[in-house]
């Protein structure tokens, strides 16, 4: 498997992944996910950590039919670039919907779901996916 088993890694990423914590640059205004200390657009370190909005729109999506090993059992699944209400782009899976029902412009909301297992004896990793707004 591609993802090396690591409990510390999953542990330190939990807040950003579970709570959808992004960054907002106080200098250029860019907001981004995940949070990091330096703005990817302008290089400023004047960045605040923000809780990102939980709703957005699918900008582009694809259906993964030949997945990496640890996602084998889930294929085919939808992977999308979602533009959140504040303009931040997030890459995540779209769930609770058939792949052929997904369209660009579809309104989606955040849901907390399982992503992958670190092997049969490893921990299970969770994160944010999107589902259609009902």
């Amino acid at each position: 498997m591609a993802y090396m088993r690591s409990v510390p890694r999953a542990w330190r990423e939990r807040k950003i992944k579970y709570q959808l914590l992004g960054g907002k640059c106080r200098d250029c205004g860019k907001s981004f996910y995940p949070y990091r200390q330096v703005c990817p657009a302008c290089g400023s370190t004047n960045v605040e950590q923000v809780k990102l909005p939980e709703r957005g729109v699918i900008e582009h999506f694809t259906v993964v039919r030949t997945p990496p090993t640890e996602f084998k059992e889930y294929a085919p699944y939808v992977l999308a670039l979602v533009r959140l209400e504040d303009g931040t782009r997030v890459l995540a899976q779209v769930t609770d919907v058939e792949p052929d029902e997904v369209y660009e412009g579809m309104e989606v909301e955040v849901v907390f779901r399982k992503y992958r297992e670190q092997g049969p004896d490893g921990i299970i990793e969770y994160g944010i996916k999107f589902r259609p707004v009902r």
Partner: protein, 391 residues
Amino acid sequence: MLVSKVYVAGIGATKIDEHWEKGIRDLMAESSLDALRDAGIDKKEIEAIFVGNMSSGYLQGQEHLGSLLATWLGVPGVAANKVEAACGSGGAAVHNAFLAVKSGVYDCVLVVGVEKLTDAITSDATDALIMAEDQEYVAFTGASFVALNALVYKAYLKKYQAKQEDIALFAVHDHKYAANNPLAQYPRPVTLEEVLKSPMVADPIRLLESAPLGDGSAALVLCSEKKLKELGNRDVLIELAGSSISTEIFSVHDRTDLTSISATVKASRKAYQMAGVEPKDIDVLEVHDAFTVLGVIHLEDLGFAERGTGWKLLKEGQLEKDGKISTNTMGGLKARGHPVGATGVYQVCDVAKQLRGEAGKNQVDGAEVGLAENVGGVGGTVVVNVLKRVR
């Protein structure tokens, strides 16, 4: 130390294939010996080795390729190390070797690109390739490398109202030229219909719009002016006249525009400047078309077409060997093959072949200037190498 010109003294490569009988070290040694023979240089004259490779650690459980190759070639003691920049590893190794000679530190260096994907099953190779991306926030989502390029494809189709059938022509183009390249992995033509009916990998990317998995190694001997004088006169002489690397924002979700790769724009402008050429001077071009749409985007970013119109060059026949900008004339990534970390070195070898007039049926008449563009990840790294025939 002095600033030297850098010359391509020798080229060598294995066929790109499923090399069941050869390990990664055998492939490296084979292309190296081939390039040394071509250069007419004894291996003991090599002062440094740069090995371009992406995934030997994951796929072979083998790192430390520089020293391994030095021993396997029988030249322990030589300076040697691996250079890694995902699928751009080969080009990056060429760039590092260029700097080493240009600076005057070394007069004679060997660059070897190598990748061996068939030691693994396909899903493990897929795992290896996604390591080019952000493991914690992109690979985590189940994104495959193809899937990320599929998002770029969708963005391009939408922004420019382009048609997939026009872009998929890149695969047909590559296969047409691979048919005459004995080192190509798939030396046979394909039709547009076959491409558009091949299995879907990640919508809208179909199997035959994607570079294949394969094994291969290519090598170059680079030398300084001083070394060249020692080697004596040559009928044909190729200069590595410009070499540049640039980086783009790592992951696509952080980029404002998915349909252009700024690293290609930056690296190419710098390389053009170093070589004293402009896009209109380029006779032969190698673009990193790991997926058809990326080939089109690279044509635009390199300055050969306006935004959103790169596919027209294909349709109008301008990429043919007698066209305005002869492109991927040895089969490109799609059909020559794409042994990941070796690709950037294959590209430079193939450009050199054209400039030396040794491209056989694919020869571009009177080719004097060539460019090779090698890309790591979804454009996270771009290497541009410009070659000139100076004699």
